[in-house]
Symmetry: C2
Subunit: 730 residues, 2 copies
């Protein structure tokens, strides 16, 4: 069946067997009679109804960091074209294989340790220095390689994730010459070939392979360790700092939710006890205050934690953004850069600003306005419908019609807008991945904010119906989270399983009933030679599938964006309206305890491994949440003003005075928020000292190292004067 | 008459003569008959009534950077004690002299070029690198001295101001040993001796000498060049970057005032034309909007300009604050620092926070509350008085009694509070001069804000009397500026002149009438040998006074603090209430055009030269002004809401609706302000590129320099891969 350029080289190991068991425990679905009916209609459905270990044995792929796959029906010539260019123009080591089942090609890419080290220097990869050379992270240089921790063992000096990131850099640096084209796609001189081909579908996928032993450790110590703290250092090392920061943030946020959950439960509990209205009102106001203060302190404390982590993971100092490498899809003209003096893609900032302010923002604003209009129309329709169906005497199920229409429309608009936003952001042509992401966040967060909260604002401030607000909030909070988890975990998981089953079916045929009844797992070890020939066991085949094949069937991880967005909206529900629905924080807490592990599961088992990315902090999400905090103050004050407590606490007050009182309250709260934020330093004192220490040491080392270079004067360059008393004169 | 350790060494030069002429033109007061009467009573008064050149000839002091003076009646032993310690424990060159007239001692301190260069390195003085070594500013090191611009001529490598700052560092680094004491003052081990003695009056003054030739250039090209742009680079070089930034800011602010002045004049002009009330109201609202927008754009544009200047003057990168030298008066225990590993004064951050939050802030708040209470009482008294004097039929002059009382009380409270604030700030014990200043700014700006604006707020929002507001604002704005200029320039100027006259009288006796009638200026040159013997000219003495003597009679410049404070309050008048008094910006503009030159005159002719200080920007004043901008939005909106335009524009609106409308307007304006601030980058694009270029060059140079040090691998370390296409494969 195999006819590729190389044969797949499956290998068996204790690891594989352990992974099989893991797979069984995690995924096994025991469906029986209903399944049998289905199986007769869809041949490969049998796979999904039996234990995965029966129809698939994972064989680790060796000597490969990154896999590049081509779409079906790609010609051998095209593959050869890529192979040739990679070999000629890069330091990469590449092997090509053809997949037997669907006739697709894959490139297995890796690089030698010396090339990787060279690229670590070119990319200014920060590595930890030995303490005697100043400590802290510093850009790796080959000349000073021995100053870095762990360089004694060159092969394990770079982590698996760093290797893959460097290989990615090398791949992205494969650039087109003048007039080149492949598979009908014309390339512009200087363009990064593979990213361009990926965006046009000439290349199907590019992903780094999992490190199965480390993945297993993460599975036991992270995904399934509900009660334990997350092993964040391992996560950051394995998936990159950006994902590490996401999980650290999610954990920090979840812990921070404990306090408002408790307060919320107490407040909610009080509503069952008979109390005077005045007491109730006072509690309402206090709870709103508490929300505002909590959100401020939480946001500030995260900044401190984030600085700690960035320091620990070596991303606190990032180099000047004009020196950093541009995004692969950044468009520009090749010009001699005034910064580096070399040929570089450049794009004038004013043209970006023209696009941003004359196209980007107006279009975004128009989309949001459109969204608001549609939301308003649908809400009006909903109320009209409710009133008229009562008049017409229709059954209650018809009530759901406008709600379904609304849910459908919202989903549709979200998808359409997302495409528009990505296109606009691409059009604005940001040079760096980071600024690209940050601007995309602003665009999408704004839209999602309107989409998620418009109906609540409508109910709270237009209808002024607090009861309805409570119901709507509870429903939205719970439904969104359930739907979110299904959308982000279950569906991709099932899709991936389906694809694997198809692959197994195509390669080895249907699962036989005998296999299903007598699963003799781990009875006979797989042959060490790694052939794909049928096993000796009667009636069963060694359904060996290589790791690369399995992972290429998995969907691609889209980044932390959707996860942050979900949490951002949740944070909004908690701080905007929780005085109406005090259990919001508790619901969020419950959800997040599961969310942490389900997101971890997603990364470890459902999606392809993502390339590691560096990040100093959570970027624009911090700003977005701070804006949400301010909106929280305004909304809470407005709720206090509207829902009557002021009026009941001070019965003689006029409406104007109420409004003025609420305004004063709002301004005082905003001032308080500002003062709290100002009083809490963004970097903890110990970390400041630590950073200063590293900087000081580095200067000392630098001074010492310079004294070898030139010698102008023999002045003692290690000053002893810093505050120490001079020798006594007596 | 001379009996000091050295004799004064006066010298004559064309420069001196030119300075005499300058002095005459600037200061000469021609008083005649009334003066003669006065002269009979106060002997030295004669000096003040005649041209200064008659009773004083300035002789430049050579070979001296910094002068330290002792109070009268300091014993020779004390002076010897200081001399000995300076000679033993520092690299300074010191000479002592006794002043003949009042028997006071002075130390003339300087240092050799090699010691200064050594200290330039120890203090990490940033100097400009040669272009071939990366360009931009970098901390000076002796080893790489030849990489810096202008090092070929070692003696002129450091500017006069840099020399003096380094000498100051060396003086401040003269630290006490265990158990030392001088003139009854016990010193703590490790304490900076001279700053401590200065603060306790054991040492009277310490100031750097003027560079007379450069001073003259500044006089012609800056102080008296009203129509010309300020020579900011020269100012920053001569007085240090901190003062340079102040004048740059003042100039930028003054230019920025042109636009609101013009708009204000147009708006004010319209009030004379008969227009409908509706049109008037619309203009009122538009003018308030304009104010808000202008202040935002102005504040943002200053940030950009500030970044440019800091880059040009080498203060953009300041080293980590925990590495910087502490303030001389910083108190702490000598401990091995965890940052530098050396003995350093340390003070735990939590103790500072305890002092700040448990003592500093509550006391500040109490002072401000007390101030508000006193202001309110006085205002109430004033109105009560006005009503009752009408009833009693007293003359109109009695109306002024409470106003005088108020002015007097305000002045008194300002002075008392200033002492409290300085004491509190000292008590909070900030480690760095910069943070000390910033916290002092916050304390004083808050208080001054209340002191300056309380009466206006009272009139605008409590009395709601717009006519009275206009009058009060105009009066305050003009009186404050006139009084301010008298207080800050005229009084110190007269005091200095008086002191000089006393000195001349004590040294040479009264001015004889013959001299007064026949001033033969510059007729005979002063003797070159520098003796103070009577001149050959009959009836006249060579009234030679050395530069050091003259400058020690001048008052000390207290720093830019008062100047900023004055401008901060002025900015407040302009943006808070100018919709009530549209000519506020124009008054401010007129004042500032003069203020620039009078501040320049102050620095060049009235006060002692200050030590140069470094600054990256205007520090907390920027924040203070941004807060003022936000307060401006609130106040302007409140004025719009209160003074009726909304009600007249929409006659059917209810009071509650008016308030709501104003609130929405306020929030919209604040949002707009935020968006404008966000859209204008704090660093201009060209400067970003420039900074990145320097950083890039430096890395390249660094990589090259490292390749001499060790040699692990011979990999090409000048990457050619940055976006440039790889060689074509064809």
């Amino acid at each position: 069946m195999y006819s590729g350029l190389h044969a797949e080289a499956p290998a068996s190991s204790p690891l594989r067997r352990r992974r099989q068991r893991l797979g069984r425990r995690l995924f096994s679905l025991s469906l029986s009679s209903a399944g049998k009916m289905l199986r007769r209609r869809i041949p490969q459905a049998g796979h999904l109804m039996t234990s995965k270990s029966l129809w698939m044995t994972e064989v680790p792929t060796e000597d490969c960091d990154v896999v590049v796959t081509f779409p079906p029906r790609t010609s051998d010539d095209t593959v050869e074209w890529f192979m040739g260019r990679i070999r000629q123009r890069t330091d990469l080591v590449v092997a090509a294989r053809r997949h037997p089942a669907d006739n697709t090609h894959r490139l297995y890419v890796t690089a030698s340790t010396p090339s990787l080290l060279k690229w670590a220097e070119l990319n200014e990869l920060p590595k930890r220095m030995k303490a005697e050379h100043g400590g802290g992270f510093k850009e790796f240089t080959l000349q000073n390689a021995n100053f870095f921790e762990g360089f004694e063992d060159k092969d394990s000096f770079l982590t698996n994730q760093e290797r893959q990131s460097l290989v990615l850099c090398m791949i992205n640096n494969l650039r087109a010459s003048k007039g080149e084209s492949v598979a009908g796609l014309k390339l512009i001189e200087g363009q990064a070939i593979i990213p361009k081909c990926l965006s046009r579908g000439v290349v199907a996928q590019m992903f780094p392979l999992h490190d199965l032993s480390k993945l297993k450790r993460l599975n036991t110590g992270w995904v399934r360790a509900f009660a334990r703290r997350q092993p964040l250092d391992d996560v950051a090392e394995y998936f990159g700092v950006k994902i590490g920061i996401y999980f650290a943030w999610l954990g920090h946020y979840t812990r921070a939710l404990i306090l408002p959950s408790l307060v919320g439960i107490v407040y909610w509990g009080k509503s069952f006890r008979r109390e005077t209205q005045a007491e109730d009102d006072l509690w309402f106001v206090l709870f709103a205050f508490f929300n505002v203060l909590w959100s401020t302190v939480y946001l500030e404390s995260w900044k401190r934690r984030s600085a700690e982590l960035a320091h620990k993971w070596g991303t606190l100092d990032t180099s000047d953004e004009l020196i950093q490498e541009p995004r692969p899809l950044f468009k520009g003209e090749l010009q001699v850069s005034e910064v580096t003096g070399k040929l570089e893609l450049t794009y004038p900032w004013w043209r970006r600003n023209v696009r941003r302010y004359l196209v980007g923002w107006p279009l975004t604003a128009a989309c949001i306005a459109g969204d608001m209009f549609v939301m308003w129309t649908l809400l009006e329709l909903q109320f009209w419908w409710e009133k008229h169906t009562h008049v017409w005497g229709y059954g209650s199920w018809t009530n759901y019609f406008p709600k379904i229409l609304m849910a459908f429309t919202i989903g549709l608009m979200e998808n359409v807008y997302k495409k528009v936003a990505v296109w606009l952001n691409e059009f604005e042509n940001y040079r760096l991945e980071e600024s690209y992401q940050n601007h995309l966040i602003v665009k999408l967060a704004l839209f999602q904010f309107v989409n998620s909260f418009a109906s609540l604002f409508y109910i709270a401030f237009y209808l002024q119906d607090m009861e309805r607000l409570k119901k709507q909030l509870g429903t939205l909070l719970i439904i969104r989270q359930v739907v979110g988890n299904i959308k982000e975990s279950l569906i991709p998981f099932l899709k991936g399983q389906m694809k694997l089953a198809q692959m197994s079916f195509a390669m080895f045929g249907a699962v036989s009933p005998s296999m299903e009844e007598k699963p003799k797992l781990d009875a006979s070890p797989a042959p060490e030679d790694g052939s794909t020939s049928p096993r000796s066991d009667a009636g069963r085949q060694a359904r060996n599938i290589s790791q690369a094949e399995i992972e290429s069937a998995m969907p691609q991880y889209e980044g932390t964006f959707e996860d942050y967005l979900e949490m951002f909206i949740q944070f909004g529900y908690v701080i905007l309206f929780s005085s109406a629905f005090p259990l919001a924080a508790f619901c969020a807490l419950l959800n997040n305890v599961i969310e942490i592990r389900s997101d971890a599961f997603k990364l470890c088992a459902i999606f392809q491994r993502p390339f590691g990315q560096r990040a100093r902090n959570i970027g624009t999400w911090q700003d977005a949440m701070e804006v949400m905090g301010v909106v929280g103050v305004i909304v809470n004050c407005a709720l206090i003003g509207m829902s009557g407590p002021v009026h009941r606490l001070f019965p003689d007050i006029s409406t104007t005075q109420t409004v003025l009182l609420v305004i004063v309250l709002e301004h005082a709260l905003l001032l308080l928020k500002l003062l709290v934020a100002y009083a809490i330093p963004d970097t903890p004192a110990w970390l400041q000292a630590e950073i200063a220490k590293i900087e000081f040491n580095r200067r000392e080392v630098h001074k010492r190292s310079l004294s070898f270079g030139s010698s102008f004067s023999s002045v003692d360059s290690s000053p002893q004067h810093r505050g120490a008393p001079a020798p006594a004169a007596q």
